[in-house]
């Protein structure tokens, strides 16, 4: 049985962030509910934040924290506007199916 390292190496954090990011993309690709898709985006953002924090741990400076802080702020703004848009879309089309809302075509 392999000996578990006493501390998780940085690469684990990065791999975790990669996994989460890919999960987010998967959610984006496979879910059809706008809100879920939106949440998948948030998941991706979180994954990126994790890698930011991990890197700033590695580099020993807290700029990464600042970046992820800004990411949070932007995410908040984005959520506010995005959800408002979703509300209006639902008001106009009575659906949350992302495939129904394809009038951008052609």
């Amino acid at each position: 049985m392999p000996q578990l390292p006493s501390a998780a190496p940085l690469s684990w954090y990065l791999i975790l962030s990669a996994i989460l990011f890919v999960l987010g993309v998967a959610g984006f690709l496979f879910r059809r509910n706008i809100i879920t898709v939106f949440m998948s985006i948030e998941l991706m953002l979180n994954a990126v934040n994790l890698s930011f924090i991990a890197f700033s741990y590695q580099l020993g400076q807290n700029d990464g924290h600042i970046f992820s802080f800004f990411v949070m702020v932007v995410a908040a703004a984005e959520a506010a506007v995005g959800l408002a848009i979703i509300l209006t879309v639902f008001k106009n089309r009575q659906t949350l199916e992302i495939d129904e809302i394809s009038s951008l075509k052609n």
Binding site: V25, F28, L29, F30, R32, V37, I98, D99, S102, S103, L104, K105, N106
Partner: protein, 644 residues
């Protein structure tokens, strides 16, 4: 007064003078549609009146302006050593101009209230009017060439807007375009001059520039001063309708009559004169430019006067007389008697504004009729207008003790000192002036009524005209004739204001003994002209036709304004038009540019047609594409050593 001069000078708030009309413009321009006419009138006239009063207050506070008084507001351009700031300055010249602009301007505003009473676009008209006042005051107050240029362009714009006020008629818009384009030529010269000044003096401030010039020795002044002066002259000629750029002014009469009075007689067209007087130092340092000014002036005066002889449109007559009077002013300037030029500017503002307004009142009375051949015998029908117009007439004809007499004399004296032939030509022009002005007046007021308006109720509007349909010929309302009366008084007694004396600290008077005929000549010429006009058009109306048939060639030539328009059309306009049509449009634009653009468009749409297949409208497939793309990018970077 003297003790507290500093504090007083410190706080004159000159900016209020132009800002007040600007506020009027904003109010009328923005809310005018909803405002009642009364409110519009109050705003329009009130703002101008206020700034007039403020001018009076300021000048009173400033007392005797031995040295110009400057107010600095803020630095506009600061690049390297060149420092251009927005300053306003007041000296005696500015003082005169301010009084003319605001005073006469106010009177014309009041008149316009009556004249435009039944026009469409009422608020628009007064908004433009106030805007014009704003720019004109900027022009007059500006303490450096750039600020002056701002006002210069601004008044050009307003002139364009107001000439084309009846933008539904083609000729009006055409006239507006003509004025604008011709002025562009002048402005081009002016801007070049400004650049040269900036280059050579490192400043545009009047004070600094002219003091530098003053220090230069007159005899060995460098060539570029002449260049600057000539370029400025081009600008002035454009704005003040001098040969060869005068052609726009007669057409500018397409605008409403108050516009002709305010812009194309009293204020804007004199901007060129003002500018040359302002930069007199430069001209004093280049004799050539100065002489050219004089020559252009006298030539313009003469030609315009001759054209004026045979015009039948009453406003056209006065338009040409304006051109010729401006020529007089230039003659005065060129003769070195800048103060005389300004003097004539003032008197001319009085009587020419009066002439136009009176003409307007006649037109108003005849429901828009402008052709003198359809007038006549109106003296009994509209007596007040008749009286005031005759006041103006005697003034412009230089009858003794009227304003025109003194200013014209001053100019002609200076002209004589410059060179006698100019004096004689000027005198002859004075005769012509008196002749055509009184021709117009006699045709209008004496003899039998030849028109149709007022006979049968239905009346055709020639061109625009006021749309109120009461048939009878009628005297104008008081709001129109009271300003006329004031102006009439001014144009009679305005000559006793000794402007040259007032301006002496700036422009030294030319002393020297002159032969007696120099002062008598113009007077006699004027009186002869009046008399001859009386003979021709009242006593023996047949004579003109006989003369016309006798000198038919000359008649045709003059009647068609020396074919100048046609000449320009042939030499300048059509070549340009054709050139641009064939070369620029057909070749460059249609072939080259359009071809390129369309080609790009076609390629793009072709590619798009392919890519369109990708754009299914399903966000998820877009996402899939993004993923695929990012994967490839990352792969490439990873494998080919992009990322370490």
């Amino acid at each position: 007064m003297q003790t507290s001069t500093e504090t007083l000078l410190a706080s004159q708030q000159l900016w209020l003078i132009p800002i007040l009309p600007f506020l009027g413009f904003l109010l009328n321009g923005i809310f005018g549609k909803r405002l009642p006419k009364a409110a519009i009138n109050v705003i329009a006239c009130g703002s101008v009146l206020l700034s007039f009063l403020w001018v009076l207050k300021t000048l009173n506070a400033l007392g005797s302006l031995e040295t110009p008084y400057v107010e600095h507001y803020y630095t506009w351009i600061q690049s390297g050593t060149l420092n251009i700031s927005v300053d306003f300055a007041v000296d005696r010249l500015t003082e005169v101009m301010l009084l003319i602009v605001t005073g006469v301007g106010f009177l014309i505003h009041v008149y316009a209230v009556g004249y435009m009473a039944h026009e469409g676009g009422y608020y628009r008209f007064f908004a433009y009017f106030n805007l014009f006042m704003f720019f004109m005051l900027i022009l007059v107050l500006g303490a450096n060439f750039l600020v002056l240029f701002v006002g210069w362009e601004g008044v050009g714009l307003c002139s364009y807007l107001l000439i084309g006020f009846y933008f539904l008629e083609k000729f009006a818009t055409d006239a507006g375009n003509k004025a604008f384009i011709v002025n562009r030529i002048g402005d081009y010269g002016f801007s070049l001059a400004v650049f040269l000044i900036a280059i050579h003096f490192g400043s545009l401030d009047f004070g600094r520039v002219f003091s530098q010039v003053k220090d230069m020795p007159v005899e060995s002044s460098p060539g570029w001063i002449t260049a600057i002066s000539l370029l400025l002259l081009v600008g002035a000629a454009g704005k003040s309708a001098q040969i060869p750029l005068y052609v726009w002014l007669p057409d500018a009469m397409a605008g409403p009559t108050p516009v002709s009075a305010l812009i194309h007689a009293a204020t804007m067209v004199t901007a060129g004169v003002y500018m040359i007087a302002r930069s007199s130092q430069l001209y004093l340092h280049s004799a050539f430019a100065l002489n050219l000014v004089a020559i252009i002036g006298v030539a313009t005066a003469f030609f315009a006067a001759t054209i004026g002889l045979l015009q039948n449109d009453i406003k056209k007559v006065f338009a040409y007389s304006t051109v010729s009077q401006l020529g007089y002013m230039f003659l005065g300037l060129g003769a070195g008697a800048f103060s005389a030029g300004i003097f004539h500017l003032m008197t001319h503002a009085f009587f020419k504004a009066l002439l136009f307004l009176g003409a307007g009142s006649v037109i108003h009375a005849l429901g828009g009729e402008q052709d003198m051949r359809k007038m006549g015998g109106l003296a009994r029908k509209i007596p007040i207008t008749c009286v005031v117009l005759f006041c103006a007439g005697v003034a412009i004809a230089g009858v003794p003790f009227t304003s025109g007499h003194y200013s014209k004399d001053a100019i002609l004296d200076a002209a004589y000192t410059l060179s006698p032939w100019m004096f004689w030509l000027g005198t002859f022009t004075a005769f012509l002036t008196a002749f055509y002005v009184f021709r117009a007046l006699f045709l209008t007021f004496f003899g039998e009524y030849r028109g149709t308006y007022g006979r049968e109720p239905v009346h055709e509007h020639s061109g625009h005209g006021d749309g109120h349909g009461h048939g009878a010929i009628h005297e104008s309302p008081p709001i129109m004739w009271i300003p006329l009366a004031i102006l009439a008084v001014l144009s009679l007694v305005g000559g006793f204001i000794n402007v040259p004396k007032f301006l002496e600290p700036m422009f030294k008077l030319s002393e020297g003994e002159l032969p007696s005929f120099v002062s008598l000549g113009p007077m006699i010429a004027g009186l002869t002209g009046i008399g001859l006009a009386y003979v021709f058009y009242v006593l023996a109306p047949k004579v003109p036709e006989q003369l016309a048939s006798a000198f038919s060639g000359l008649y045709v030539l003059i009647y068609n304004k020396y074919f100048v328009d046609e000449l320009y059309d042939a030499t300048v306009v059509r070549p340009v038009v054709d050139g641009s049509r064939t070369l620029l449009w057909r070749t460059a634009d249609a072939e080259l540019i359009d071809g390129t653009v369309n080609g790009i468009g076609r390629t793009a749409s072709g590619i798009g047609g392919v890519l369109r297949l990708l754009q299914s409208g399903f966000i998820r497939s877009y996402a899939a594409w993004v993923v695929a793309g990012s994967i490839t990018v990352v792969l490439v970077m990873a494998l080919w050593g992009g990322s370490r």
